[in-house]
């Protein structure tokens, strides 16, 4: 059977399922290794994605929030950010390219209202991106969100953030999200002078529809929300090469 027939069948199935698979828009990361790994060459728009922090990040969700902010900063239009209780520091969000004028915060008070606002935002269709910080995300809730995202074409990011480290095991439960990421901090490269270098993350793609899991070591978002590979400096320590699937190696 030749490829044209298969492509034709795929197209037909896609139409039956109500999503034009071939035309799905993506938002590239601008990092070749990651973009090549993801189906379509970037993070799918019109889809729900999950991001959580590793280690202490599961509780404070600081790196995960920056990762999400970096993604939605590169979309167009306003951004809706739903939280139960506010502890984001807006100047930091502005430093990854998501200016104060673009983010509308919803401080919903409880998880149920956060999900409600999240879904309304996803359904609305005039927003660049929607971010929500939730602890629990059930299969039913995530499927509703995913369907809402498919109708509007907005990118939705659920930052999974728990009260206690033990609750973070919830991240193993399946959801309808298209991708699932875990962002953990890595020690920064020592500078030749005293001081703290640029932040480094280990970005794990734990689950992805249509691609294998992988992990990448990247430098944290810059002023325009882009992550990047380590700049190839001659004084780079050997330890960064040690990881097998590292983006460098």
């Amino acid at each position: 059977m030749d490829n044209a027939v298969i492509a034709d069948l795929r197209e037909k199935i896609g139409r039956l399922e109500g999503r034009p698979a071939s035309q799905r828009a993506v938002l590239p990361f601008g990092v070749d290794v990651i973009d090549r790994h993801l189906p379509g060459g970037g993070l799918a728009l019109g889809a729900l994605h999950e991001v959580a922090g590793g280690g202490n990040g599961a509780i404070d969700g600081a790196a995960a929030a920056l990762f999400a902010a970096g993604i939605v900063a590169r979309t167009k239009g306003k951004v809706l950010w739903c939280v139960t209780r506010q502890d984001l520091f807006a100047p930091a969000i502005a430093q990854v390219g998501l200016g104060a004028n673009r983010v509308i915060y919803v401080e919903a008070g409880d998880e149920r209202s956060v999900l409600e606002a999240f879904e309304e935002g996803m359904r609305y269709g005039g927003l660049g991106g929607i971010v929500a910080e939730v602890a629990k995300l059930t299969m039913t809730a995530s499927r509703r969100l995913q369907l809402a995202a498919e109708t509007s074409g907005a990118v939705g990011i659920a930052i999974r953030r728990w009260r206690r480290q033990t609750e973070a095991a919830d991240f193993g439960q399946p959801t309808a999200a298209v991708t699932r990421w875990r962002v953990s901090t890595l020690p920064s490269r020592p500078l030749p002078v005293p001081g703290v270098g640029r932040g480094r993350w280990q970005v794990e793609l734990i689950r992805c529809r249509g691609a294998e899991a992988a992990d990448f070591e990247v430098e944290a978002c810059d002023g325009t929300g882009r992550i990047s590979l380590f700049s190839d400096l001659p004084d780079r320590p050997l330890s960064t090469r040690s990881r097998k699937r590292s983006a460098v190696g």
Binding site: D87, A92, A100, I104, S188
Partner: protein, 475 residues
């Protein structure tokens, strides 16, 4: 001080706090008061003018707080906020808003929120606190200790009851009803039942003159949610037509459902910008349909635009216009009607070096701010609501700690940036004249970064306690 004439006697009808503090009381003869205080400012009570002013105040409150407002003569207004508290973010916020807006208009007032008109009336006037919020079902016990005058009884009855030794509402509810009724008529029983919520007491609301409204009476009472939704859609269409003819857009819309048992349930929705969009208004109103309790059936639905503002004819979106920034006001209206207006906001920069003062919440659709936060120094993604004290070991005066313990975990610091010195804002409070914070950005062995500071400059004890705090977490 205002005086009124009762029979041949001139007595005090109303007085201000200054007069109260020197021992004058309501009902005291004017001649006695004048004998006590020399330079007393006396004016005649203008009862008709007061009535007029209370009515005006009720109309003002109608536009702001609640769809059902009535004047509670001679000295108050009563509102049924059941259908409108969601707009303000809950009952507590409504109460706070009412008092602060009255204060802004230079009116000193007291407010109470309770289950029934009678309870709220009594608590607003006779409770020592200026703002009282009673949990549902608790009102009956709370009012027991208030004096008899709180019950809205005629003055003659109150005096007679006092003569018999009744002082508080508690005394009255404990006494057998039959003998009281025999002696004083049914008034006492009626007022007690009204206050306890045994007998309903409908509010006869004030009506705005020249308000744009449409109504739909039903021959057969309706009750099903689908039916109500269908008629809401019809009413909205008519209302929008009326608004369009006058060139107005609605900012607050009330839906009043008159039930067959002579009670009214209301729904109020608000929008951030004036709108005249049938679809959006219908969506906002039907979103609230579950709060309408049809009881035995609704015999009339009324829709009125309580607040309307001029709105130019809508312009269709032109493909030449840059479509980047789409209009999100519909979404904002929908969410703020569900969660309260305070729940949605943007952050705007404030020119302050102190991190917790460097931002302020602004309305989501307010004008875009031009200024941005200075981006010279990295800032933490999460800022703790309050800086948390940490145990450290650090060299004075300006070295970062070698390790620190936060929430029971000891972390060894591998790299640090700082100090970034922030001075207190002496123009705000005197205590901050010499205050200093030295911020450090530190990274522990696992690569996690924290924003810590030392209160004080490390040398002069006047600048701070030299204790260390953790203020934020970097991503």
């Amino acid at each position: 001080m205002l005086v009124t004439r009762r029979g041949n006697r001139r007595e005090i009808a109303a007085l201000d706090y200054a007069a109260m503090s020197v021992g004058l009381r309501k009902g005291m003869p004017v001649s006695k008061a004048q004998a006590m205080i020399k330079s007393l400012h006396v004016a005649d009570l203008d009862a008709a003018g007061d009535r007029e002013a209370i009515n005006r105040l009720a109309l003002w409150a109608l536009q702001r707080f609640s769809p059902l407002v009535a004047a509670d003569h001679p000295d108050g207004i009563v509102m049924d906020i059941a259908g409108a508290d969601h707009l303000h973010g809950g009952e507590e916020m409504v109460l706070e808003k009412i008092l602060s807006q009255f204060k802004a208009a230079d009116l000193l007032g007291k407010a109470a929120l309770a289950d029934t008109w009678g309870q709220a009336h009594a608590l607003a006037r006779y409770h020592k606190h200026p703002a009282v919020l009673v949990e549902p079902g608790q009102g009956a016990t709370v009012i027991q200790d208030l004096p008899l005058t709180a019950l809205r009884l005629p003055a003659a009855i109150v005096t007679a009851l006092r003569g018999l030794g009744f002082e508080t509402i508690k005394d009255l509810t404990a006494a057998p009803r039959a003998t009281l009724t025999l002696r004083f008529g049914p008034e006492i029983g009626r007022r007690i039942d009204q206050a306890l919520g045994i007998v309903g007491e409908p509010i006869e609301p004030v009506e705005l003159p020249e308000v744009i409204e449409v109504a739909r009476p039903f021959g057969e009472p309706i009750g099903a949610a689908d039916t109500i939704a269908r008629y809401i859609a019809q009413l909205v269409e008519r209302l929008v037509g009326d608004l369009e003819r006058k060139g107005l857009g609605a900012k607050r819309v009330d839906l009043l459902a008159y039930r067959v048992d002579n009670t009214t349930t209301t729904v109020r929705v608000g929008t951030a910008l004036p709108i005249r969009d049938t679809k959006r208004l219908t969506r906002l109103l039907t979103d609230k349909i579950e709060t309408i309790d049809p009881g035995f059936g609704i015999e009339q639905l009324r829709l009125r635009a309580v607040q309307a503002e001029p709105l130019d004819p809508a312009q269709l979106i032109n493909s030449l216009v840059d479509g980047d920034d789409q209009d999100v006001s519909a979404l904002i209206d929908l969410l703020s009607n569900r969660m309260g207006q305070g729940a949605l906001y943007r952050f705007a920069p404030v020119a302050s070096d102190i991190p917790e003062r460097s931002f302020q919440k602004v309305a989501p659709l307010s004008l875009e701010t031009v200024s941005e936060w200075p981006s010279k120094w990295p800032r933490p993604t999460r800022l703790l609501p309050y800086p948390e004290p940490i145990d450290t070991m650090a060299l004075l005066p300006d070295h970062p700690p070698v390790w620190f313990t936060w929430r029971g975990v000891r972390r060894r610091i591998k790299a640090a940036d700082g100090p970034e010195r922030i001075f207190g804002e002496w123009w705000k409070t005197d205590a901050e004249i010499s205050a200093v914070r030295d911020y450090f950005r530190v990274e522990d062995e696992a690569g996690e970064r924290y924003w810590i500071y030392r209160a004080g400059d490390g040398e002069d004890p006047n600048t701070g306690s030299h204790k260390w705090y953790l203020h934020g977490v970097f991503g």
